[in-house]
């Protein structure tokens, strides 16, 4: 019999090497077929070891390659080999033409259909390779005896329609898919002549599809074939399916198995690092007899950085697919997509524009061989756009010609870089826009979209620093390949209404794409995906991510066919997949001497059922209930200690500086709440950088409201306000004029809501507050946005008053607040104790109004008692007289407290300039430290 069953501890590849016939270093009269590609490298290696010289190797195929070879060369069928995207395109055409299409009104566009199409294609391919006739799919409802729920039955009906129509079209057009090739080859296998080979070896197969079984049965009859099977769990059943009865039994090899539980992925990698280090220290070999198995590729980069860094790059080989979605290029595309899809007409949404141009790949595009110039350019643009950040939309030409941006470029680039002219910078900016954003604004069809996106990748590749990273080349190449496939696919002529749909299709398409980290085989330690280990034997196995959900990957069960239907149709189910995994895993560890199994154990993750089973077998053998004796625990040092903030002493230079410093109410408030914060913010001048954000910052709305109110009242300064003057129509005009300038003409979404909300609120302010006050008092506005600089008790004070007016005979200083919370602004006079410094911070919400009062009366000479100060809370939901938050409620409160507050202000100022008084931390960390930007600095 031409069947050889070997034990799981034997080396399958070496067994195959023993069987091939070589004459004078020529093995070309042998054909060897393995399930996958990888064993071919090891077979050649085994023969090389035997020959100790160069040789002509056997013809070695993976099963897919063999089928392709037979299909194209032996049967002479050829034709276009469909990619998944081509298949989806055909399925979409069937879907669009179908009267009862799947999902009815859903999935009507190619981008929405794409994920459904992929899933559908997978199911159809399975049905086809298993040789399920379309009638059987149709009949499944009856076979189930009405047990199938209606939606499932309907889904199956559409599936049978797709099944029939799809392969009909494939055949008519002389296309082929993987399954159709297997089917055709299996149906014509008797025509295949393999007589030119002395020996045909099929080695390492386990689970077979119906098409493969047909092929195998036929090949079993040939005189020159030899089948080598690796014994393991479930193998005998598989053999009996082929009519082979296995007799011999082996004692299972028992490798040394060690388990490691880790709180996260990195723990596993660091565990591997420790093992490698031990081996290295013991001078044990770390070569191709050791494999690190990664069932999930997401751990690959941690492995590179934290374990493989021990080894010389020539001493390891990585072979597995890495998802394109995890690469920085994908992130770059996302940003480009966001810029294009959020455009309002020809205007770009500024936050997304900045996000794109500040992406490392964009801002490091070379200008005359230098990347720093572009960085400075885009940061200068960022600064300008941040300054006018209420302007959320701008067109590219507006950006390129904006006066403020040009000024900023002159300041930041032209002034400091001799030889660079403004013209050069403008051209550079335009060129970047042209090669990226402008290129992606409109497309004729999917083909053109893919072509242009490919050009963007090539532009970044050729013109930015991106390719200095060794992985960028494979990333870029994979993207370009995928885009090339897309541009040549049957989907290339599809057109969309919206540019966004092209990007959506691209994203859905690329999600399924992987970079083949192919590596150089046979070079040192092997880092392989789980399936790559099939048929290979390693002495040391380091297996990572042995977790449920990954190994086995339970989430991958994604089919239109429920398990019951699959069983009835004879398709493999999750149980079969698990069986394959179990077999592969056990043959892998069965051939090893040492096995290290790593897994994550946390609230969300648990060890793989395969590990659980191994542990249980061990427990049974040892008669122990507790499995922890077999498991090493990986854990980290955790520190939850915090350092206390440290006072900072003043130098003489600082004191000199502070004596000259023009204090504002805000700076004083800062000092009051935290002197250390004052130090970092005002003495060192370190401030949080402002950025253009997608959301409306409170400050942004505040500035806008201040601007509109100031504009509205500007023409009324100096004259007595009348009811007639309080025109809402005029207010509306001013409001809309400024809103349009800042946010564009036809706002949508959040901006639309903001416009309506702020507009209505401010109208309420005119109607329910301002008009009421005019009726109550004779009101004359004295000043708007008044800047004040005064000197008092040798301290320089400065203030900016929103509005100063006369109400009857009293002067009123008004400060607008867009918030609604009065608690942070008021002063609890009862709690202010001059003798107790700590009480000030707790009792005083804000020193702003007393500070203004002091500064204004110093400037004008007016008596403080004749001046009222108040905040107007414009953010309150109801606008009426209650929005006022006065500094003093009445005269007696003034009399009792003004002196006290003046004392507080000057005491604080004296404290600030005192050489003996260090900058201390806040006494109220609970309220002040939570959001402090200097929180991590003050403990240094």
């Amino acid at each position: 019999m031409n069947v050889l069953l070997i034990s799981s501890s034997e080396n399958l590849v070496e067994k195959a090497a023993e069987q091939v016939v070589g004459i004078e270093k020529d093995y070309s009269r042998n054909l060897v077929i393995f399930p996958g590609k990888r064993p071919s490298h090891f077979l050649r290696k085994a023969l090389a070891d035997k020959e100790k010289s160069s040789f002509i190797p056997p013809l070695i195929f993976s099963m897919d390659e063999f089928i392709e070879h037979v299909h194209d060369e032996s049967l002479g069928l050829g034709g276009r080999k469909l990619e998944a995207i081509d298949a989806v395109s055909i399925l979409y055409a069937i879907h669009a033409a179908s009267p009862e299409n799947l999902g009815r009104k859903s999935f009507l566009t190619p981008d929405t259909f794409f994920p459904v199409g992929m899933k559908l294609y997978d199911d159809l391919e399975e049905l086809h390779i298993e040789g399920v006739p379309p009638e059987k799919v149709k009949a499944i409802e009856n076979m189930a005896g009405g047990d199938l729920p209606e939606p499932t039955a309907k889904r199956l009906q559409s599936l049978s329609h797709f099944y029939e129509a799809f392969y009909k079209r494939v055949e008519e057009a002389h296309f082929s898919t993987r399954s159709s090739r297997y089917r055709v080859v299996s149906e014509n296998i008797d025509r295949l002549n393999l007589d030119r080979f002395e020996k045909v070896i099929l080695a390492g197969f386990f689970a077979l599809t119906e098409s493969e079984k047909k092929i195998f049965r036929s090949l079993l009859e040939k005189r020159n074939t030899l089948f080598i099977f690796h014994d393991g769990e479930g193998m005998r059943k598989k053999l009996s399916d082929l009519g082979i009865t296995a007799v011999r039994k082996w004692n299972a090899n028992e490798p040394e198995i060690r388990c490691y539980k880790s709180p996260d992925s990195h723990g596993q990698v660091l565990g591997v690092s420790a093992l490698l280090k031990t081996k290295r220290d013991r001078k044990e070999r770390i070569d191709d007899h050791t494999v690190i198995v990664l069932p999930s590729s997401e751990i690959l980069l941690p492995l590179f950085h934290r374990a493989l860094n021990l080894l010389d790059p020539d001493n390891y080989n990585v072979s597995l697919g890495y998802p394109l979605q995890r690469t920085p290029l994908f992130g770059f595309f996302n940003h480009l997509m966001e810029v294009v899809t959020t455009m309002n007409g020809d205007r770009l949404y500024v936050p997304y524009y900045l996000q794109f141009v500040l992406h490392p790949y964009t801002k490091n595009i070379y200008f005359q061989g230098r990347a720093d110039v572009t960085r400075i350019l885009f940061h200068a643009i960022e600064k300008t756009l941040t300054e006018k950040r209420t302007k959320k939309f701008l067109s590219l030409s507006e950006l390129e010609n904006d006066e403020a941006i040009i000024h900023s470029i002159k300041e930041k680039v032209i002034k400091v870089e001799p030889g660079i002219t403004l013209e050069m910078m403008r051209e550079h900016l335009e060129s970047i826009h042209t090669h990226t954003i402008r290129k992606m604004l409109s497309f004729k069809d999917v083909g053109e979209f893919a072509k242009r996106l490919k050009e963007v990748v090539e532009y970044i590749y050729q013109n930015s620093t991106a390719r200095l990273h060794p992985f960028f080349s494979p990333y870029a190449e994979s993207f370009v390949n995928q885009l090339d496939i897309l541009s040549k696919s049957l989907m290339k002529e599809i057109q969309f209404q919206e540019a966004g749909s092209y990007f959506t299709l691209f994203k859905k398409y690329i999600v399924n794409a992987y970079i083949p980290f192919a590596g150089t085989p046979l070079r040192g330690l092997q880092v392989l995906g789980f399936l790559e280990t099939r048929n290979l034997k390693f002495e040391n196995v380091l297996f990572l991510d042995a977790n449920e959900g990954i190994f086995p990957d339970t989430a991958r069960e994604d089919s239109f066919l429920p398990v019951k239907a699959r069983q009835m149709l004879g398709l493999p189910t999750y149980l079969d997949r698990e069986e394959i995994m179990s077999y592969t895993f056990h043959t892998l560890i069965g051939g090893a001497k040492e096995v290290h199994l790593f897994y994550v154990e946390s609230d969300e993750k648990e060890k793989s059922r395969f590990v659980e089973k191994l542990l249980w077998q061990r427990q049974k053998k040892d008669g122990k209930r507790d499995d922890s004796r077999y498991i090493h625990t990986i854990q980290y040092a955790v520190s939850l200690k915090d350092k206390a903030p440290r006072p900072i002493k003043k130098s003489l230079e600082m004191i000199k500086f502070l004596r000259e410093y023009p204090f504002s109410a805000t700076s004083l408030n800062t000092y009051l709440s935290c002197p250390l914060q004052f130090y970092f913010e005002y003495v060192l001048g370190l401030r949080e950088r402002e950025v253009v954000s997608e959301e409306f910052e409170k400050e942004e709305i505040g500035s806008f409201v201040h601007l509109v109110l100031s504009e509205y009242f500007r023409g009324r300064v100096g004259s007595m306000l009348t009811e007639k003057q309080m025109s809402l129509r005029e207010f509306g005009k001013i409001f809309h004029k400024h809103f349009e300038e800042q946010y564009g003409k036809d706002p949508a979404g959040e901006i639309y809501l903001l416009r309506n909300q702020v507009g209505r609120h401010l109208e309420d302010f005119i109607r329910n507050y301002q008009l009421v006050k005019i009726k109550e008092f004779r009101t004359k506005i004295l000043d708007l946005e008044r800047e004040i600089h005064v000197e008092k008790e040798s301290f320089k004070l400065r203030a900016r008053l929103d509005r100063v007016e006369k109400r009857d005979d009293r002067t009123v200083i008004i400060d607008y607040k867009t918030s609604a919370n009065r608690n942070t602004l008021t002063i609890n006079y009862n709690r202010v104790d001059l003798e107790n410094r700590d009480s000030w911070c707790k009792a005083i919400g804000s020193l702003q109004l007393p500070f203004y009062l002091l500064a204004y009366s110093t400037l004008t000479g007016e008596k403080p008692e004749m001046i009222d100060c108040m905040f107007l809370l414009l953010g309150r939901s109801r606008i009426d007289s209650d929005i006022e938050v006065p500094l003093f409620k009445n005269e007696s409160e003034f009399k009792e407290n003004f002196g006290k507050l003046t004392e507080v202000i000057f005491n604080l100022l004296r404290e600030i300039v005192s050489p003996d008084q260090a900058f201390m931390p806040t006494i109220d960390p609970k309220n002040h430290c939570g959001r402090c930007a200097y929180g991590y600095l003050c403990t240094n």
Partner: protein, 470 residues
């Protein structure tokens, strides 16, 4: 944030500050924040004191960007600790950048006690990259987003180790412990974000509070029902808390100002229990103690050197040129020997390969080009059918280490073996490499056909040049 949230750790803030600076060099606060921080100062070997750095920032407060001033005043420090990071921030993905920072500042060595924080930062970035986002600014946005899932940032403590476990009642669902200490605080009701109301005309989300509910009976009823539901949920949660203990349960209630749920309930329970008798600890189960085996801790290793990737950056990606090259190779591989039909054969082959590869190379132009090549005097002999000569196209050979080499065309005659290697494109920069590759082929052939004369030629198809290598 919870105290296990790494965003509360100073070290995290310093690393975030450095990433922020590298992403946006004009960010002076981030730059200063890092320079004044522990990581930078621990890396210094007496080159600058903290006081000196404070003085520098004070003196430079008007100079922006600050890093330029730093570069001028401390050129050596800049070169050692920032220059390389600054340059590589333009192309390193975030995960690589942070690893580079870790190596440069030897953080695992210098902050051993913060191991969990340092690892968690890497873990967060790794997971973040899984979402298809991996540039620093995206990460920074997420790091400062208070609404971002706290659990993503929380240090993973190992489960199953012998230690007191601290968890919420919610997390304790389904678990049991010999001893449970339940810590209860008074709960404040913050109202409901919205109340779900299903009516004939569809679903409504109602915003109702105590004030609003007074407006109608309908609203009051809705609110009360929701309140009751909430209370039942709370009771259920409390039930879970009370039933986790196997042997001993201690309940500590912290009395608040309002005597509200669940403290009010505890008082009722307490009064019904009668006199307070103090804890009655259960005696330990000797078997359990015996069976517990010592934890096998595994000592981790942090190799100090950064990774050297096993890939060499390519000069350029010119897919078109490469594809054309592969196309020509494929066409030439289908030509056996020259005869009077070669021209038509070539056209047929080009059509076939165009069809196979979905390409549209001009049959005429490509055919003419390849025919010219094949008719060159130096090339012809290798394509001429002579009795006793065998051609092998795309023939696999293996060297003595098992590496595979596919030779474009090998010609076997009685006394000689010749190999042709086709090269396409007009770039001859790699000629040295081509010669070395061919020499390797010759070495392989010599090992196999030791008695024969071995020769090789490099045929530059597009340059109309042929180079013989002995």
């Amino acid at each position: 944030y919870s105290s296990l949230d790494i965003r509360t750790r100073k070290l995290t803030a310093e690393i975030v500050a450095l990433i922020t600076f590298l992403d946006s060099p004009p960010d002076d606060l981030s730059f200063a924040g890092f320079v004044l921080g522990d990581i930078f100062r621990k890396a210094l070997r007496g080159e600058a004191e903290l006081e000196e750095l404070h003085q520098f920032f004070f003196r430079s407060r008007k100079k922006t960007p600050l890093y330029k001033a730093f570069q001028e005043e401390f050129p050596e420090l800049w070169e050692t600790y920032f220059e390389d990071l600054f340059k590589s921030a333009g192309y390193l993905p975030l995960y690589d950048l942070v690893n580079k920072i870790y190596s440069l500042y030897s953080v695992f060595d210098r902050f051993k006690e913060e191991e969990a924080t340092l690892i968690k930062i890497l873990e967060v970035i790794k997971n973040f990259e899984g979402e298809g986002r991996n540039n620093p600014s995206d990460f920074l946005k997420c790091a400062t987003d208070e609404e971002a899932g706290e659990s993503d940032w929380t240090i993973d403590v190992p489960v199953g180790i012998s230690a007191v476990k601290v968890m919420t009642i919610h997390k304790a669902k389904g678990l049991g412990f010999p001893v449970v200490v339940l810590l209860l605080y008074e709960e404040t009701t913050r109202g409901f974000k919205y109340i779900f109301s299903e009516q004939a005309d569809g679903v409504h989300l109602l915003k109702i509070n105590r004030q609003i509910m007074k407006a109608s009976h309908f609203l009051e009823e809705k609110y009360e029902r929701e309140r009751l539901k909430d209370l039942v949920n709370k009771l259920n949660t409390l039930y879970v808390g009370f039933t986790r203990a196997e042997d001993e349960l201690y309940i500590l209630g912290v009395l608040g100002k309002r005597n509200q749920f669940p403290i009010d309930l505890l008082q009722i329970v307490d009064s019904r229990m009668g006199s307070w008798s103090g804890p009655r600890p259960c005696s330990p189960d000797p078997k359990r103690v015996e069976e517990a085996s010592p934890q096998k801790e595994w000592k981790l290793y942090y190799h100090p050197d950064p990774i050297r990737f096993p890939f060499v950056p390519m000069e350029e990606i010119n897919l078109e040129e490469r594809r054309r090259g592969e196309f020509i190779h494929r066409v030439l591989s289908l030509i056996d020997a020259l005869d009077e039909n070669t021209e038509t054969d070539l056209e047929r082959i080009i059509k076939r390969v165009n069809d196979e590869w979905q390409t549209d190379y001009s049959v005429k132009a490509m055919g003419k080009h390849l025919l010219e090549f094949l008719n060159r005097e130096e090339v012809k002999p290798y394509f001429r059918a002579v009795p006793g000569t065998v051609f092998k196209r795309e023939q696999d050979f293996s060297d003595s280490r098992g590496s595979l080499f596919r030779m474009d065309r090998v010609i076997f005659s009685e006394a000689r073996v010749s190999v042709i290697d086709y090269k396409t494109g007009t770039d001859q920069k790699a000629e040295k490499e081509h010669i070395s590759q061919l020499k390797n082929y010759l070495r392989i052939l010599r090992e196999i056909y030791s008695g024969k004369k071995i020769e090789g030629i490099i045929a530059y198809v597009d340059l109309d040049e042929v180079r013989k290598v002995e």
